[in-house]
Amino acid sequence: MSFTSFGFVAFFVAVFGLYYLPPMRRHQVALLVGASLLLYWLEAGDFLILLLVSSLSTAGLSYVLAGRRGRFAAAALGVAGNLLVLGFFKYKSLFLSGAGAAPRDLVQALLHAPLPIGISFYTFHGISLIVDTYRDPEPLIGAVGRRWPQHFAKTLLYMSFFPQLVAGPIAKGRFLLPQIGPKSFAGIAWQESLECLIHGYFLKSVLADNLQQFTAPMTTPAAWGVDSAYHLAAMMLGYSAQIYADFAGYSLIAIGLGKLLGYELPQNFNNPYLAGSFAEFWRRWHMSLSSWLRDYLYIPLGGNRRGAGRTYLNLFLVMALGGLWHGAAWKFAAWGIWHGLALMAERALAGRLRHLSALRILGIPLVFLYVTIGWLLFKLDSFSDVVAYLARLLALPRAAGDGGVIEANVMLILTALTLLYQVAMEILAKRDPGARLAAARPAALALMLVFILFGSGDRNAFIYFQF
């Protein structure tokens, strides 16, 4: 059930109403676990078993890790188990052929099973919890106590919390687990929650969903032949705006829903298209994944502490694996490598160009353009399609065709709105808007709400649900 469906809204209202009833106060965790599992079952069916097994094993192993004996073995087993589950279900298609064969038994059924929803996110939650507990068990013990039923219930909620289960933000155990406990209606931060929800739905329904109708033809190579280069370029820029609005919108809705239930989720985006460097881009884009990869992959590999050569290798590996995390296709690895190469080049040149302050201003459009070209690897079906698209784009002068000029203009307006949105957010975050502008806040939010009510595009699945 997507956040933008009426079914989900009705579901959330029902859960919210029950959650804050006085008799439910002692059962809030159980209610959230039940609601999360029910929602997952409605969406993913039998894969609920996989989520339960993964949660149970993570809870059991983190329980062992909180004790004194067998800690290394438990940690290794926990990390390997989560990676195995993720690797099997997500990447089997890279190595298996004959996916069309009818499943005859359990093994065949598993081999041909589709990607379970949210698996990339909940397995990363599991690994984070195991590793953090192995490194320092005290915060976990402080957060969940030493009793198994409580430990299990809280771990299950951490793994399955429905606002973030399907596509994050990825919350570390030390961030989310200490928050689990009774919540009161009086404690709801209404303004913050509604602001997150309105911004999220505006980005998703008004910008991303409206852009979707214009960028959809990108996946039809037959149509490129009659498009103008202008239209092809506008679609590429439009998709760049769309994927930001889609995922940032989803993340803000998740954060807003979490706030209404009394939970803080980590920030996932910070105006990434205003980044002046590639390193900065990755501190602003999908921040919860970047932070996860840094803490559990880049730093354990040695980070930048083992010399220049090793640092470049680590950057390359982390970005390639981070790319592959998005899906079982080599194009995602290529996307990661595309970014890895940029980070390596930037690091190599950083010392020599540091004194050029103008680079920061030039860097914003350069990074945006580079990132935007990289998104073609997400949108198009194959690496060869990306090459063909770019070749077509560069080969055609604008006059080569007049196909879709009006649509291209609309796309560029929507793209500009998405960028202006980030500029406005950046300014508001850095400067105190003052009392007069603060009073205008409800008016600005109301304007966004009117657009959500009357100007949303056709409802589309969130792009990141497929990952």
């Binding site: 009086a186 409206n210 009117v450 009357f454």
Partner: protein, 310 residues
């Protein structure tokens, strides 16, 4: 609820609700007024994505003013070209789909035009039940009437497109020979050749049979309301007309409605942008051909010069 909302949150919620209500009402009033009084707004093309919804929504709101209806796929979008309409004739072009969806919607409302032209060529496209429900829903019709911002015509994305695309004052008539024009535009028709090039298997045949049965029943329903139904064939590029699904459906329709009036013409008379869709001049010519079949007295006498929108 056991506890209250803080006073600052209450103030915020109140301000948000008031602003939202005020802006929603204000925008709707402006749009309602603009659609009625700003003719320049109406003399513009809708974006392709919205055009089907705009046309169907317009028709279900105004069907009583339409004694003659031209119903079909995107081919009908230029029959007539925008700005060349005649009073009492409503063209309902359903882009991406075809006459079947329009017939299904018409059957759900009390529409009873005197003459109904039905495009046969792309009638094989489905009439999804959820879309029929949506377009025929009286609640949504009322919503579109009283809150025009909710209608496709006033959608802000559609407005962004419309603002750039005014209706041309003159018809476009290429001076190239038909064969040369056709060759030049072949890359565009190639796209349709690929889309409709698949052979008809048993499953597709069953699907066509089901759509034909539905068409038969809907046509019968319209005829019980006193409507005279006339079928017409789009003068497609011969290569597209010969594609499997197009030609099979053509034969099925001709056989099923052999006892009805048909309008068809030689393709060489018409300039098509992509083997399927009319240029404005050819669309106007085909419109005239259709209207020549309307019995005298059904339409008011034509007034004003061609190109004057009604």
């Amino acid at each position: 609820m056991p506890s209250s909302i803080s006073s600052s949150d209450r103030r915020f919620l109140r301000a948000l609700a008031l602003w939202t209500a005020g802006l929603a009402v204000g925008f709707n009033l402006v749009v309602a007024y603009g659609l009625q009084h700003w003719r320049w707004l109406d003399r513009r093309h809708d974006l392709a994505k919205f055009e089907a919804a705009v046309n169907i929504e317009d028709y279900v709101l105004n069907y009583r003013r339409c004694p003659v209806v031209v119903l079909g796929s995107s081919v009908v979008a230029a029959v007539p070209p925008p700005g060349w309409e005649r009073p009492g004739v409503c063209s309902v072009a359903i882009l991406g789909q075809g006459a079947l969806l329009g017939l299904a919607v018409m059957a759900r409302i009390p529409a009873a035009p005197r003459v109904l032209f039905v495009e046969a060529s792309f009638g094989f496209r489905d009439a999804p039940p959820d879309q029929v429900e949506t377009y025929a829903d009286p609640g949504l019709r009322a919503l579109h009437r009283w809150f025009p911002l909710s209608a496709a015509k006033a959608n802000w994305i559609n407005m962004l497109g419309k603002a750039q695309d005014a209706v041309q004052g003159a018809l476009y008539r290429p001076d190239q020979p038909w064969a040369a024009w056709r060759t030049e535009h072949q890359p565009y028709s190639d796209i349709y050749a690929r889309i409709y090039g698949a052979p008809i298997d048993a499953g597709a045949r069953r699907h066509l049979d089901a759509n034909l049965a539905q068409t038969r029943s809907l046509i019968a329903e319209m005829e019980t309301r006193g409507t005279k139904v006339i079928f017409f064939e789009a003068p497609l590029d011969p290569r597209l007309a010969g594609l499997p699904i197009v030609s099979v459906w053509h034969d099925m329709m001709r056989a099923a409605f052999a006892d009805h009036d048909w309008v068809a013409d030689a393709p060489e008379k018409y300039y098509l942008t992509d083997g399927m869709h009319f240029t404005s001049g050819s669309g106007a010519d085909f419109y005239d051909l259709l209207l020549s079949q309307v019995p005298v007295g059904v339409l008011p006498a034509a007034t004003g010069s061609p190109g004057q929108r009604n």
